[in-house]
């Protein structure tokens, strides 16, 4: 599904190398987690995959089912099936949440040469999905993320994910800013979307999210590289001992 090879990335504006050779391979239907201390390059990896400006790839490759992600515009990557759940979902005053969702769904369909979804079908599906995530009608009508609480914003991300039905989902610190109940709700939303054709890359500081979204593989990232890969037990090790031990091992 997602294949990242020797990825090197620096900031465009300054001479600062953030990713220093990331290798990662995620198979179809798998859930991988990346953990790591602040500044290790986790969020940068998610931005580079989704095509945000401000980063320069100096070496390496990233492909989604063989398609070269790094050559594509952000919207093309989305149409190809990549989805990034933002750590800080952006507020867009003046654009209704429904309009936004429908525009996005139809834009992706159009890019793939599919027919637009009818207004009736769209409404029906949004309502059903929103209900599962406890998103009320008012939230759907309001401008995108404007005045949403932290939990509402994250649930709105999952709603978008559900509606867009991507094959590769990157969750960037989806647990940040969530209380226990909200985390549970969001995790249930994510788990409901798990299937053999859809893969997840879950980026997080903490093990607690991984109690809810159980990963197949856990990677530890530090200083722009993946320094250790293991099973779910690796996350528990981090939870118990912190990153210091792991960092020490490789130093």
């Amino acid at each position: 599904m997602l294949e990242i090879k020797n990825l090197h990335v620096k900031l465009e504006e300054e001479d600062k190398q953030i990713l220093k050779g990331v290798d990662l391979e995620i198979g179809a239907g798998q859930v991988h987690a990346i953990m790591g201390p602040n500044g290790s390059g986790k969020s940068t990896l998610s931005y580079v995959l989704s095509g945000k400006d401000g980063y320069e790839v100096t070496d390496g490759a990233a492909t989604l089912d063989g398609a070269d992600l790094l050559e594509m515009e952000p919207e093309e990557r989305a149409a190809e099936g990549l989805f990034l759940a933002f750590q800080y979902p952006v507020e867009i005053p003046g654009v209704g949440n429904m309009t936004f969702l429908r525009t996005a769904v139809n834009a992706q369909r159009k890019a793939r040469g599919e027919e637009e979804i009818s207004a009736g079908d769209f409404l029906k599906e949004v309502r059903a999905r929103a209900k599962e995530l406890k998103i009320d009608a008012d939230m759907l009508k309001r401008p995108v993320n404007v005045g949403f609480s932290g939990g509402e914003k994250k649930r709105n991300e999952i709603l978008q994910m559900a509606m867009l039905a991507p094959k590769m989902c990157v969750l960037d610190e989806t647990d940040s800013g969530l209380d226990v109940d909200a985390m549970k709700l969001v995790s249930e939303g994510v788990n409901a979307l798990r299937n053999e054709g859809r893969s997840f890359l879950v980026i997080t500081h903490y093990q607690r999210l991984l109690d809810h979204i159980k990963p197949d593989v856990v990677h530890i990232m530090a200083d722009g590289k993946i320094i250790k890969t293991g099973g779910p037990e690796l996350a528990l090790e981090v939870e118990n001992n912190g990153y210091a031990d792991l960092l020490g091992e490789t130093a």
Binding site: D53, E75, F83, V90, I92, G94
Partner: protein, 428 residues
Amino acid sequence: MALPQLKADATTARLDGLSLPDGAAWATEARQAALARVTSAGLPHRRDEYWKYTDPASLVQPDAPKASLFHNDEGPLFANRDRVQIVFVDGVFSAEKSSDLAAEGLEIGLLADALATDIHWAKDLYGVLETNGQTPVERPLAALNTAFASAGAVIRVTGKATKPVNLIYLHENTTSDAMIHNVVKVEAGAEMTLLETGPAAARFSKCLEVDVAEGGTFHHVRAQGRDHERRAVTHCFARIAKEATFKSFTLTANGVLTRNECIIDIIGDDAVAHVAGACVGDGSDFHHDDTVFITHDAVNCESRQVFKKVLRNGATGVFQGKILVKEGAQKTDGYQISQSLLLDEDSQFLAKPELEIYADDVACSHGSTSGAIDEDALFYLRSRGVPHKQATDLLTLAFLAEALEEIEDEDLAEDLRARLDNWLARRG
């Protein structure tokens, strides 16, 4: 004080080719008084403080600069709305193109007829609100209009009008120089919606005087034509009585020069006055100026100014907005926002927001911003699959939304939104 020679010469040159139209004694008196205001103030010049950001030369020069005719492939605006249509072609009333001028709750007439009638209600308003609006800032182009305009509509609103009145200004002559003066009197508790659409002329001078009596409501929605080369100076003078409501919205797309002045006097307690505008301009020959002056002279009144401009390819937008709160106008709630979305580095927005307050128990705020498309929002939309151009358009419409929300009638707002969609869609 004598006028500077340049200004005196320009004023004389402009007045040379004009003669006061005939009319009833009161009308002639009003016109002569207006002419006197023009000659004493002189027509505006770039060096006048009030015209610092907009060069009035082409509005003042004797002949109208040529403006090519523009074929509007979108068809007439508000075509699906049931409305009284009063059509002027290059500033001349067309009975043939207009609909029946009778409607429930409205008494509609033509300015020329009103000004020829010895006893007419318009006497108390024609040139009167314009005169009130000459202090503290002189508006000689409005006085010029009062002196020489012979076309326009006079509307008395006696009840709740069941359909809007649409003044339609067609442009069919490349050198037309049109003056139109409309007078509206909203009686106590009465209500109407006035629509104004179309480019009107190569050069257009328009005055609207509106008197809203106690508890009356006046809605105004205007769309200035898409003709690229047209020029317009418009004045709206409104007087708002106790518990009355005045709401005006203007959409402007294109035009080498547009100056819209709105002067509102709130004279009765608990009244509301909103004035808003959205403008979209493309190209270095686009220049659009909103100049607003709202005076609060009563207690517990609310005023809002909401102006949004989208500018690209070297377009220029101007906003001069003032809230004057007079002594004793306590509990005033005044709000003013002017914002521009600059789609490139060549475009510019010049803003002069002003507050002048002589009462101590008021809440007034004003803000003005200029900015580019929000990169984070753009990336967010694109990351969801919305292509760059579509995402930019969506954000542009979102930027204008706050101004469009000032329109109460959702159908009318929808018609204008569709025009904006088309405007954006035409641009790559």
